[in-house]
Amino acid sequence: MLSPKKIRHRKTFKGRMKGAASSGNSLAFGDYGIKADGCGWITSRQIESARIAMTRHVKRGGKVWIRIFPDKPITKKAQETRMGKGKGSPEYWVAVVRPGRIMFEMGGANEEMTMGALRRAVAKLPVPCRIVKREEH
């Protein structure tokens, strides 16, 4: 699963997800992609799950690009712990996604296969998504 190799701070603030994605909002590599229509935290497990769903559907053909990286640590307090006594310990990693963000891209497979793969990946994600296609203008 994806996680940073080196970090500056072990724990971060929760943060707020305001506005739309200012970067990573257009297709850069593939011909098809998954675009977020809402905001949310995508965990490294969800990214991995979506990637596996895609690669299994295209039977290892085609190429997948992951355009998000889970670089935000999320902490959790241990079970049956009383409140207070400081922040919990890091549990998992998430990528912060805002509306308009392209999360995954695919190329190299035919349209039917790619759309099927992307639909399966969308089912693994916790934010409303849309499948987008490269359009020539």
């Binding site: 994806l2 739309a20 994605a21 990573g24 909002n25 257009s26 590599f29 229509d37 990637r51 596996i52 690669t55 039977k59 290892r60 053909g61 085609g62 190429k63 997948v64 690009w65 992951i66 355009r67 998000i68 990286f69 509306p99 308009g100 190329g107 190299g108 490269r134 359009e135 020539e136 203008h137």
Partner: protein, 214 residues
């Protein structure tokens, strides 16, 4: 120098965020025209402009503008220099138009089209065709803007690539990009790679290395 696409535009005297928002809600797009003389603030019909951009190739070709304002109509030829979009809804929110001048070269971006059959590497070795560059910036005269640049990738085998220097250019066209920049390549697919490797190594090993994280 005649344009295939003709649009109506109105000169707008008011500028700013509030004015732009009112224009958009009234079905118009705020735009600016510059290049020859002073910049002029315009507004275009959202419906007409979106149709021209999506279907008629306004993104890369010459556009004829009938500009009305101050009781007179003026005809100008422009190219689309920049476009601002709402990335969530896909709606166009602003357009930059560059006024062309006869005999003066200008920079425009044109699409790169793949022509010919599918590459040998894809047909015979199950390779993956990847187009790295979909459009390229060129210098040319306004009346010589090509619809698209073509490149034939049918002879590419696995591991082969074509570069900017392989593009067929019409006369009087000069490309900005480096000649050795890759336009299209055929890479080995994981199916082909798995066939050659006898040891499976698990799914993780076969699928690894494709994550292009930021």
């Amino acid at each position: 120098m005649s344009a295939n696409i003709v649009l109506d535009a109105e000169i707008r005297t008011e500028t700013g965020k509030g004015v732009a928002r009112r224009l958009r809600s009234a079905g118009r797009i705020p735009a600016v025209m510059y290049g020859a003389g002073e910049p002029v603030s315009l507004s275009l019909s959202s419906k007409e402009f979106t149709r021209a951009w999506e279907r008629d190739g306004a993104a890369h070709g010459l556009i004829g503008l009938n500009i009305t304002g101050g009781g007179k109509t003026e005809k100008k030829n422009v190219v689309l220099r920049d476009l601002q979009q709402d990335w969530v809804t896909g709606r166009i929110i602003h357009a930059d138009l560059y006024e062309t001048q006869k005999g003066h070269k200008l920079s425009v971006t044109v699409n790169i089209h793949l022509v010919g059959d599918s590459p040998i590497g894809v047909r015979e070795s199950q390779g993956i065709l990847q187009q790295m560059m979909h459009e390229v910036e060129i210098d040319c005269l306004p009346d010589a803007i090509p619809d698209a640049l073509e490149i034939d990738a049918s002879r590419l085998d696995v591991g082969d690539s074509l570069h900017v220097s392989d593009l067929t250019l019409p006369e009087g066209v000069h490309i900005h990009a480096a000649p050795d920049a890759t336009v299209v390549a055929v890479s080995a697919s994981r199916v082909a790679a798995a066939d050659t490797e006898t040891e499976a190594g698990g799914e993780g090993a076969a699928e690894g290395g494709e994550a292009a994280g930021e």
